[in-house]
Symmetry: C2
Subunit: 317 residues, 2 copies
């Protein structure tokens, strides 16, 4: 009923059908853009082995939550459905590349040392550590390459703003910063505000950035951006709370990655801090906050954003 | 005399004095921009430990060749000396951040496993592998953050183009691609064209990118860009040929890094391929090509670019 409340007159929004269509476009674009061919005639070809590792890291796996947030925010905001859609597709792929590179580096032996990801051997297990390191580095660069097509398919102002939003979401005061705090926190006891700060950077920044990038492609007004920023903050945090819950309650097959890892590694989590039941209640509270922010945005077409928030909180993996 | 030939009427150009002034600006800007404070009021602070590793990797060391190339190209092209200088300063810092991150990752145990860099312990030796990995990742993101100031100090078209040039220079068909080829080539025999291709990506792309980014800040015309592209290609290759020469002829103290590493690691180099004397002659030939490209550019003020080319080829470390 949360969903119907926010979405208004159409309670039977089919997220799977909506997402299916968008994901076909995203998968095709990723398939096309992660390639040895350069976008320019004069350029050099990328080495095939590196590109193979990059493709392995990105293609054929993952929920694509971040690209879907970009698309949903763009559609919620864009008055003219077609306007900015090339930009939104590029932004959708760019945030997924940043996410994928962070997983590749995060899985490496010097970080989480994980061997299983999305049900497959991790990149360093399959290609070796050096190629995993370089594939991650190259994926980050490719994200910014996608945002800056040298034809006029995306206007310059949009290119510049999208690069700025992505760089800030990915960097030291965003995702990479959050990973550094996470790393330093192993074996330490964090209080709730420290834990929240860590996750706002580690996971929240890129999820929120995805929403804002999508909204930016649709040229959202300042007050709408403010509401969507709050939506992004709520689902960003909710995502991590639910991750912590699933690490305890789900098995490795369902997760597609090693379950129980955080507890084994003595990492602070919401479950270890507030217990399983309070964590579940907190996730629902964050979902309500996200839906309220959507109401506040005044946008008519927020059904996909609402359904994605619901999926983030009520997912099984 | 090569220098006087190209530079025209003023044979006594003082590179050190010229560079000294520019480097003060670059060092101050790097000092100011690699910080825990975010560029935006609303943002989160970056964790101090991560920023410490980032600063260690960048500040107080290095020849700053890439920033100097940005500045020299900008000054050669800019009709109005002040125009685009904020962009050029940001571009100068951005290319140095990309260079610094590549060194941090390159030094890691899974890559070159080097313990000494610029006369100091490498980042992973000092801060641990995980923080080195993250510091490198965050430096790459920060480069794009610097190129996209959210005030109007750099026009959007310039922001977009600089991000595009840097992403392409850094990525799979640039620096990261070259490192992947380098890695795969250990113990293999490359011919001269394969070796050149590797170095054009690994070192050449970012050096050439620095020249083009500087020229772009000064709004260079297409034919000028073409000439500067050729200049950048020549010094990019020359840099690596000289690196290979120095790896054999210099000692670790002079180099500030471990000498003789490439031979020990059975890496293909120009010296191993063509011998020391022919390598030295090739470096001089590339210097002549660079100077010819400058003549061809028709630009009046190429003395700094000419002197930098000379320095690349005739340096002692």
């Amino acid at each position: 009923m949360m969903l119907a409340d926010t979405a208004g007159a159409v309670p039977a929004f089919q997220l799977e059908a909506w997402a299916g269509v968008r994901l076909i476009a995203v998968e095709r674009a990723l398939e096309r853009w992660i390639t040895t061919e350069t976008s320019q005639g004069a350029g050099h070809a990328a080495p095939a082995a590196l590109v193979e590792a990059m493709r392995y890291a990105v293609l054929d796996g993952g929920k694509r939550l971040r690209p879907l947030l970009v698309m949903a925010a763009h559609e919620a905001v864009a008055v003219d459905a077609g306007a900015g859609s090339e930009a939104a597709l590029r932004a959708a792929c760019a945030v997924e590349l940043i996410h994928a590179y962070s997983l590749v580096h995060d899985d490496m032996p010097c970080m989480d040392n994980d061997v299983l990801r999305r049900g497959k051997p991790t990149v360093h297990v399959r290609f070796g550590e050096a190629d995993a390191l370089l594939a991650g580095d190259a994926l980050q660069a490719l994200a910014f390459e996608l945002l800056t097509p040298q034809d006029d398919s995306v206007e310059c102002l949009t290119q510049a703003r999208l690069c700025g939003l992505l760089a800030r979401a990915a960097g030291s005061s965003g995702m990479a910063g959050g990973q550094a705090i996470d790393l330093a926190s192993v074996g330490h006891r964090l209080n709730e505000s420290e834990l929240r700060e860590m996750h706002q950077l580690k996971t929240g920044a890129l999820l929120q950035g995805s929403v804002l990038m999508g909204a930016y492609c649709g040229k959202a007004a300042a007050d709408v951006l403010g509401a969507l920023e709050a939506y992004g903050a709520a689902i960003g945090l909710a995502f991590q709370v639910v991750d912590d819950i699933l690490d305890v309650t789900a098995d490795s097959t369902t997760l597609g990655k090693t379950a129980g890892k955080d507890a084994d590694n003595d990492k602070p989590t919401y479950v270890s801090l507030m217990g399983l039941e309070r964590s579940k209640a907190y996730a629902q509270e964050l979902l309500a906050q996200a839906q309220q922010a959507l109401s506040r945005s005044g946008l008519a077409n927020t059904r996909a954003l609402a359904a994605l928030a619901d999926m983030v909180v009520n997912r099984a993996n």
